[in-house]
Amino acid sequence: MFIAKVIGHVWATQKSRGLEGKKLLLVSRLKISDSKIALSRETLMAVCDKIDAGPGDYVLILDEGGSARSILEDKTAPVRTIVVGIVDQVECGSRIFEMRDGILEERGTR
């Protein structure tokens, strides 16, 4: 799994049945290191079903088809990447970050 920021979405009326009624979000993977945090240039599409995530949210992404299908409870969904949570806070190294409405702020250090 990894953390990513939702930076957009895709709409597609003609799609596989397993994708019907699901949001198709575009996410950019967050790279967190002690020295810096960066959004990777590579943008991925993630299916979003029960989690109410939208542009600006920092989300937890699961990136494997078998697990995605069991979460979607649909053995035929042609899905690999799925949103499985919305991230509120990250503690990494000595730093604490809070994420709200697309804003990422440092909350002091541990």
């Binding site: 957009g8 895709v10 597609a12 009326t13 003609q14 945090i37 960066a38 240039r41 943008t43 035929t76």
Partner: protein, 97 residues
């Protein structure tokens, strides 16, 4: 799921029987703004896409489950893109030091 543009079609009368009846389309890989990256692959079409259309596809096992017959294929088109909205263009630079 990755974006691509349908560039053409492959006809192969002699092929593995698991591919019989499958439409084989040539995909040019793009980014989510439609700019082509130069790479190409052949994918099975699961949603009736036509030449020039902006689509997205899945690979490996996810491609096989996209088709009811579960054929042994490694790439399948699973959606035709109507539109893409990007709120920001990540340039890989620091978000927060």
């Amino acid at each position: 799921m990755k974006p691509a543009r349908v560039a053409g079609r492959v006809m192969a009368t002699r092929k593995d029987e698991s591919l019989i009846g499958q439409r084989l389309l040539i995909l040019r890989l793009t980014d989510w703004n439609g700019y082509e990256s130069g790479d190409e692959l052949v994918a099975v079409d699961a949603v009736g896409s036509g030449a020039g259309e902006f689509v997205f596809f899945v690979e490996s096992r996810d491609a096989s489950v996209a088709l009811s017959s579960n054929p042994p294929v490694d790439a399948a088109i699973v959606g035709i893109i109507d539109g893409v909205a990007l709120t920001e263009e990540p340039d890989g630079m620091d978000v927060y030091r």
